[in-house]
Every structure is written in C-alpha cells, then in structure tokens.
Symmetry: C2
Subunit: 369 residues, 2 copies
C-alpha cells in the first residue's frame, strides 16, 4: 500500500472515523482505524455497535492495500505533521507503516488487517430518505437529550424515528420527560424505527459543519446515515416504544408565557442553594402576572420573581432543576409557553414561535416544601 | 453587618481571596471567606499556609460587623446575581446572611466568625521592595515551573529570591534543571529568602491583569506581597538552598542556535511515539548545520531534522521530552542557544535576545539507544 494525500483532509477523515472507535478495547484491532486503498482511500472505525467509513480524497495511489493502525496515535501524528502532503506506505500486510511528511519520518507498527472484524454495511435499498443536514441536526438536538442514558429498558435509550401523515417525527422519552420534534416529510410510506440516542449524537457531530443533504436508509435490523464522504451504520433497538400520544394530558389548569432566557437564568441562580438534586427541588408558583421561583437546599433558601403572562388558576409545582433547565434550553426560542395540567400531572413546554416541537415534563413531589 | 456594593467588584475580590481557600478542609471555617466590614470591606481567605486579604470598594456601609460563609458557594451566587448592586446583611454573628439583588433574595447559613483562625499578617517593615507587576510575573513564570513539586527536600519546592550585586534573582531547581532569572534591583541590602513555588504561582494569577507596582516585604519567617487592593502572606521555606553557581559547567563541547518554535514542534511531534516518558527519551544529534531529533517508543520510531547554527564537536544526547519542552517554552524568544558541555553533563539553554535568563538542563542516559 502506498499513497499521498493532503494532511488536513486525512486528519478530518480520521477525526470522523474515530467517533466509532473505542479508546480501550479487549480486542486491540478495534482500537485501530482500518486504512483501505483501492480505487479510493477509505477509513473505517467501529466498536461493532456503530461503524463509520469515511472516504478521503487522495492525490496519488501508487500501490493498493490496507493497514490497521492505532487510531488515536495515527490521528495525533497526522494532524501534527509539518507539511501539507503526507505519503504513507506499508511494504506488507501487518508490516510497519511508514509515514513521510517534509523532514519528518515515522515508522509505526501495525496489526494485520485480516484481524479486523467483518462489518456488514447496509447496502442502499428502497427505503431512502433525504433531508438537509441542518434539519437532521435540529431533529437530533431537540430530542436525543431526552432519551434515557441508563434505563434497563434498552428501547428508552433510543430515539423513535417515525414517518406518518407526511411528517417525520423524532421522539425520545425517559422517566421524566418526552420530547417530540417533527418535520415535513416527502417520504410516502409509514415506518417506525428506534436508533440509539448516542449514535444520533455522534451523527450530529459528524454533520456539524455540513450544509448538504444527508440520506438515510434502513432494513429490519440496521440503519445507515450517509453522504458522499461518510457512512454511519448502527443496529436498531428492538422492542415496544411507548405509545407517547396517550401521555399528553387533556386538561389545562394554567398557561404561562415567559421570556425563556430570563426564566432559565433565574431557575439556575435560585438552585445554587442545592447540592444534592436528588433530594432538593425547585418550586414554581404562578401569580396573575409573575412566576415565583424558590428553592431550599444545603446552602439555605433563595427566591426570585419573573414577569410572565399567566392565565388560569394558580399552580404550585416542583421540578428537578437540571431536567427542567435542559428542557427549556432545548426550545431555543425567545418566549416559551408552559401549560400546566395540574400540580401533580405533566406540563407541556412549547413555544408559539415553533409548533413543530413539544416537550412533556413530569413534576416531582417536593416533601420538604 | 450591612453593606451595599458593586456585584462585579465583589465577585472579583471573592475570586482572589478564594485562591487561598481549600475546597475541602477538615475545619469547615477554612472553606469559608471571612467578610469583614468596618471602615472598608475586606475579604480574607486562608489555608493557614497562605493567606490573602482583598479590599473591595463599597458603596454604603450601614452597619459594621463580620460573617463567615462558604467561599465557593458565595462566589457562585454573587457572580450570577441579576443586578449590578448587591446588598448583604446579617442580623447577628453566625446568623443567616441575607443577600438581596434586584428581584433575587438569598438566605444563607453562616459560621460564627469567632471560629476563624487568627492569621498573623506581616506588618509593613523596613524590608520593602517594589517592582512592576509585569516584571514580577516574568520572574515567577520563568522560574517557578522548575521548582520540584514533590521533593522530600521541602526547600526544593520553593523559589529562591536573592538580592545581590544590584540584581534581584529568582532561582528554582529540581533534579533535572535549574532556572535563573534576574532583574535590576534598586534595593541595596543583600538577602536570600525561599518562597513556596505554589504561592508564587497563585500570586502571578492574582496580578495577572495588573499593570501597577507590587510591593513585597519579609521577616525571618514570613513574606508579604501586596498592592492597594490585595495582600498575600506566606511562610518562608527554611533550609539550605543549593549553591547553584557551582552547578554551571565550565567546558563547552558544542553550541547550537535554533528557531525555538520549530525546535519545540519537532520534539513534540517526534515524541508522539512515546507513551511512558519515564522509560523512553528523545535523542538529539548535532551536525554542522542541522540537528537530528529522534525517538523510539511504544508506537515505533520517528525522526526529523531541523536547520541550526552549530559550532564545536558533534554531540549525541538524550532528554526527557516534557522537561526539555517546558524549558524551551519558558524562554519565549524566537531563537534559543543551547551550549552542550558534554554528552552526559548539563547543557545551558539561553537566548541571545535575553541575557537575564538561563536554564541549566541535565540529560538522561538512554539505554535503549
């Protein structure tokens, strides 16, 4: 194997392939990036749950072949190379990899690429959706945070991707909250698949700067997201995703509209008296034109009022501070509207500026109140 | 106690007093900042080894008194207050502290200030030196890094401050290197004191943005650095500081001048093959007009050449990478000159652009070479 390419493009590709590569594995080949040169230069990284390939533009291919080299180390040396062109070669499978760049010369041990696990990359099939990277990023950002990170029910660690009634919906739920974001869909067939939230979070990092379209297709067991450079493949989560529509309350006791950033700042400030947020909560009490926010914790008591448009009955309700603030931050609009169903039932957080996004949030019982 | 002051000035003072306050202590009063209001508002923080006072400009003093409150928490709430004016009061010694700012109200438990340890702050005496903050910062930055962090010989954890022959010198030494920085001194009397390096590092952070003069005075056991706002007091280290002048070699086998940043970048790059830097070292070999830099480590071998002006005999010598790079970075000049005394003796690193600064660096034996 021997090729010459641009240092920065190679480093970019390595940084993306690395998103699937574990820093430590019992199986050393998995700590490596697979470099494969035939017609193109393709990098592969995988922890077997999630696999990424990335095609790097290459300047000269002198000899085809492949090599398996520690991913973190290889990325470190490539991005620190002194010159813009890097030549990489290996005389034989599993032999040393020689990297030349300017005055710099590295001679690096590798693993025989035959030891790399066989990764089944889903072939393109008829189930292909295409959407702008920015839309996909928003769908992920506004839902994946609400998935459970440690639930014994694996299905809750995923995000439901549902196509129905001309809308593509992303839905995530944990014990406290439910987030639903929808986007118009041109895809005609209905489907429901559940993708691990951590996979979607890695995907959103890969497409962070992308302004082009991202496609995705799926089979019964796998999903693939891809564009002209990268492919990301993951297994789907199996099981019954909760029927979230039944969770939305029908009654409304009080509706409050408030400046979101002021509301967030105040909740965070008042909650500074709390150290153990499993034990101490933040209380909201609605008045006709303001909301009273207070907390008691290890460091004493704090309270503050914030102006708000409020209609309906007075409500006194408590939340876990971090979970409430995460939901409010996810809205990303100037004003938010909270509809309280009761003092013990779920509230709905949304914004008049965006009717495609809803969060359902459960209050907690504050016994210390 | 009751006073009103500017939020940002109070937060600034708390951030400085906090530099002496341990985040955890067996004696809870030491985790607190002492707020003392008489003619002025003075904040005090101490871990008993190092003590800092800071005078905060105050707008209105309604009642004198003092309070002792958890430093980290109090700093957090003050800097996040919604308005620019903060009113702070406590009804009685050890009673709750009430903080009012805009719509925000905090009610915070405190500790009786009588529980705060008595701190002896050195009175101004006849041994007073004054120097620009920028000079003091340079003296610290170029020497304190070379002090030992864990030597059993406590004296080596300090920086020698020596006044002699119209120069003020800062000197630090550990097992591998010696750094000496001098500055013209207007102070006529000779002295030698040893100040803990970690105290000087905190001092340099306190005066980081300062452009005024800093004074310092000392007694047999204590040193005090101060300006119009802050005072920092620390104990001196006792014992025999090594006679560093005898360590400078007289012979010179080879003299090399090289672009410092290029040299640093190359050493760091080549050393990427090394994981365990206690076992693997970086080798330098001088040639008439270039230096060859190479390393062998867990990730293979690497080498690279850098252009240099070199006179004298060829030298092959090895260093611990991190220690060599720390010394080179401390020079902060475009070109550095390294004078090699031999392949096993110390070298002197300096720059023609600055004759007030020398580093002496010991090589290591590289058995794997």
């Amino acid at each position: 194997m021997k090729f010459t390419c641009n240092r920065d493009l190679l480093a970019e590709g390595l940084s993306i392939a690395q998103r699937a590569i574990p820093s430590k594995s019992n199986y050393p080949a998995l700590e490596c990036v697979l470099i494969d040169v035939s017609e193109d230069l393709v990098l592969t990284g995988s922890d077997t749950d999630i696999s990424i390939t990335y095609q790097v533009p290459v300047m000269i291919i002198e000899e085809i072949g492949s090599a398996l080299v520690n991913a973190k180390f290889f990325y470190d040396i490539i991005r620190k190379m002194p010159d813009i062109y890097v030549t990489i070669e290996t005389a034989e499978k599993g032999g040393n990899l020689v990297v030349n760049c300017g005055n710099s010369h590295f001679d690096v041990p590798t693993i025989n690429p035959d030891q790399y696990p066989k990764i089944s990359f889903l072939e393109d099939n008829e189930n292909i959706l295409e959407l702008p990277a920015s839309t996909l990023k928003t769908l992920i950002k506004q839902t994946a945070f609400a998935a459970s990170v440690d639930s014994a029910r694996m299905i809750l660690r995923g995000v439901l991707i549902e196509n129905a009634d001309d809308f593509l919906k992303f839905v995530a739920i944990d014990g406290y909250r439910l987030a639903v974001k929808s986007s118009p869909s041109a895809y005609s067939e209905d489907f429901r698949i559940v993708v691990p939230a951590k996979v979607l979070i890695e995907l959103s990092k890969i497409i962070e700067k992308s302004e082009s379209d991202v496609r995705f297709c799926f089979s019964e067991n796998q999903v693939k997201f891809y564009d002209n450079s990268f492919s990301l493949v993951s297994g789907l989560l199996k099981g019954e995703f909760p029927n979230y529509n039944s969770l939305f309350p029908e009654e409304s006791k009080c509706v409050m509209t408030v400046k979101n950033q002021t509301f967030i700042d105040t909740i965070e400030r008042v909650s500074l008296v709390i150290v153990d947020d499993k034990k101490w909560f933040v209380d909201l009490k609605t008045y006709p034109d303001q909301v009273f926010i207070c907390a008691t914790g290890e460091y004493g008591k704090a309270h503050e009022t914030v102006s708000a448009d409020i209609s309906g009955q007075e409500v006194l309700i408590s939340f876990k501070e971090k979970i409430l603030v995460e939901c409010l931050k996810a809205i990303e609009k100037e004003n938010i509207t909270v509809t309280f169903s009761s003092e013990s039932g779920p509230c709905i957080i949304t914004s008049e500026e965006d009717d495609s996004y809803f969060i359902l949030l459960m209050p907690v019982k504050n016994k210390s109140r």
